[in-house]
């Protein structure tokens, strides 16, 4: 058993390490060594911010519950990246030429600089990302709980303690993001330091997951063949499961949409892209990274179901399997891997959202209110932008915590994540229209987005509160 304080200490020192890394690469980015930081390799690793703790912990849980379904979540992005030369390249090219800073900026500027549209997109993005951030908070708190109490059964835990921990994590992440995301205002909105830190985290989480996978498959499972032979008895149906119906297709399409539409993916793929030719490398390296992340998913799920006592939380198999076999160092490494996949998502998502909120909501209001005053130098505006960003980062993380708190951290990781995917997928028609359809009007895009958002909010976002609010539960069961 590892004490909670030690784990927290390790997590904090990991964040400090990240901080140092981001700080120094920010400096290097200006000099000659900067070339490496703008290389296709770093770009690809940064894109793998797609693999959050949902991938790290949630994929195993989803494999244990729904069999092959987790494949769909990685096949969608693979198809998009393999076909980079038609959609993605145009997106990146437009993003570079027009200095696009966010999804909201792209959609509004392609439809005649409509600010109303930008505000709508920003709202959808913020609300759509909220469950996703809550998912990361839940993963961090649950994993911390599991590793420090050694409990294999998914216990209820101490709610108050959980909430306090989640609040602490959210506050720490807000601090880190503010320190790095808002040091200066750059017209292209690129953050080399942060991207370097994210790339480093991508390596950490991949190695962590692979080492757990190796241990599980060859250490305790006895090779792939033996594990798959036990699949049926574990209840994972791999043969003739008929799981390739509408749900499969839907998830492939949703995840393909999400790799473009998620604010954080848009940020790293389009906004932070140093060069559109980097896509050539990313087109094969990113799918390969995804493949690496999911090779061991099924075996871990099967072994976990077979060897761990019934009632263990499948979302935590990556941690509980090493723990059950007294591999504390490995479990700690796995915890760091999960922690880094969660932090990288939180950092990039809150930076991307803060850019949107400050550019499209705070700034227009602030400029309108100050219309009478004359601003002699740019310093005032710069400070205003930076402060509005800092404020937005705090607000975004506060919303994530609020969602975590209100939903009581309930539900499987993959379930919460899909709500987010569906939310941001509303952008896809507007983005495709922005790229290819010259005659599309801003009114049409606005109405489409608003309708999609309303349906999503009513059918997916609202019901996610049903476990904690009697009013919502009643509404879901009986209608309004």
């Amino acid at each position: 058993m590892i004490s909670a304080n030690l784990v927290i200490l390790i997590a904090v020192s990991y964040v400090i390490l990240l901080f140092a890394l981001a700080y120094f690469s920010e400096r290097w980015a200006e000099g000659d060594q900067g070339k490496f930081l703008r290389s296709p390799l770093i770009y690809t690793l940064a894109i793998s911010v797609y693999c959050t703790s949902w991938t790290f912990y949630g994929a195993v849980g989803s494999a244990a519950r729904n069999g092959l379904e987790f494949f769909a979540i990685y096949l969608g992005p693979t198809l998009v990246f393999v076909g980079w030369w038609f959609g993605l390249r145009k997106l990146v090219r437009i993003g570079q030429n027009q200095r696009i800073t966010s999804v909201a900026d792209l959609i509004s500027s392609r439809f005649g600089k409509s600010n109303r549209l930008a505000v709508l997109v920003t709202l959808i993005a913020v609300l759509g990302t909220t469950p996703y951030i809550a998912l990361q908070l839940k993963a961090i708190t649950t994993s911390l709980f599991v590793i420090s109490t050694d409990s294999l059964i998914a216990a209820e835990g101490d709610r108050a303690n959980d909430n306090r921990l989640a609040l602490g994590v959210a506050a720490g992440m807000a601090l880190f993001t503010i320190l790095f995301g808002t040091r200066n205002v750059d017209a292209k909105e690129q953050h080399h330091g942060v991207v370097a830190a994210i790339a480093f985290e991508a390596i950490v989480k991949l190695i962590a997951l692979l080492s757990v996978g190796f241990f599980v498959v060859f250490g305790i499972g006895g090779g792939f063949g033996e594990i798959f032979a036990k699949a049926e008895s574990a209840g994972v149906m791999l043969h003739e499961n008929g799981g390739f119906g509408t749900r499969w297709v839907t998830i492939v399409v949703l995840s393909a949409a999400a790799i473009i539409c998620l604010p954080r993916q848009f940020q790293v793929t389009v906004v932070e892209a140093p060069n559109e030719n980097h896509l050539r490398t990313a087109s094969w390296a990113f799918p390969l990274y995804l493949l690496g992340m999911s090779v061991f998913t099924l075996p871990i799920a099967i072994v976990g179901l077979n060897l761990l006592p019934a009632g263990s939380d499948p979302d935590m198999f990556v941690l509980t399997l090493p723990l059950a076999y007294n591999q504390e160092a490995l479990a700690l490494f796995a915890f760091i891997g999960g922690f880094s996949s969660a932090t990288s998502m939180i950092i990039i998502a809150s930076i991307a959202l803060s850019i949107m909120v400050s550019n499209h909501i705070v700034m227009p209001i602030a400029l309108r209110m100050r219309l009478g005053q004359s601003e002699e130098d740019g310093q005032g505006v710069t400070n205003l932008v930076l402060n509005s960003r800092r404020f937005s980062i705090c607000a975004v993380l506060a919303l994530g915590f609020l969602y975590f708190w209100l939903t009581n951290g309930s539900g499987a990781l993959a379930l919460i994540g899909l709500i987010s995917f569906a939310g941001v997928a509303q952008f896809l028609p507007a983005i495709v229209a922005a790229l290819y359809w010259r005659d599309a009007t801003s009114k049409g895009a606005g109405v489409g987005l608003a309708a999609g958002f309303a349906v999503w909010a009513y059918t997916l976002f609202l019901p996610s509160f049903h476990e904690t609010s009697i009013w919502v539960a009643d509404w879901v069961a009986n209608g309004p």
Partner: protein, 69 residues
Amino acid sequence: MPVVGAMLVMPPLVLLFDVQVDVFGVPLIVAYLFGTWLALIVASFVLRKRLPNGDGDELQMADDKETRS
């Protein structure tokens, strides 16, 4: 290529492999999905330098848009 890939992992083609057969102890469907995945990666790796710059792929674009919607 993404069109072919999409067809391969979508029903009805994927259903062909959803049967009670094992390849080297691994269920066929698992082997098939990973195999397709790997094949797409390799194809993409081979093509990465060959594809021209520019927007001269309008025809293919139209094709792909249909399959995506």
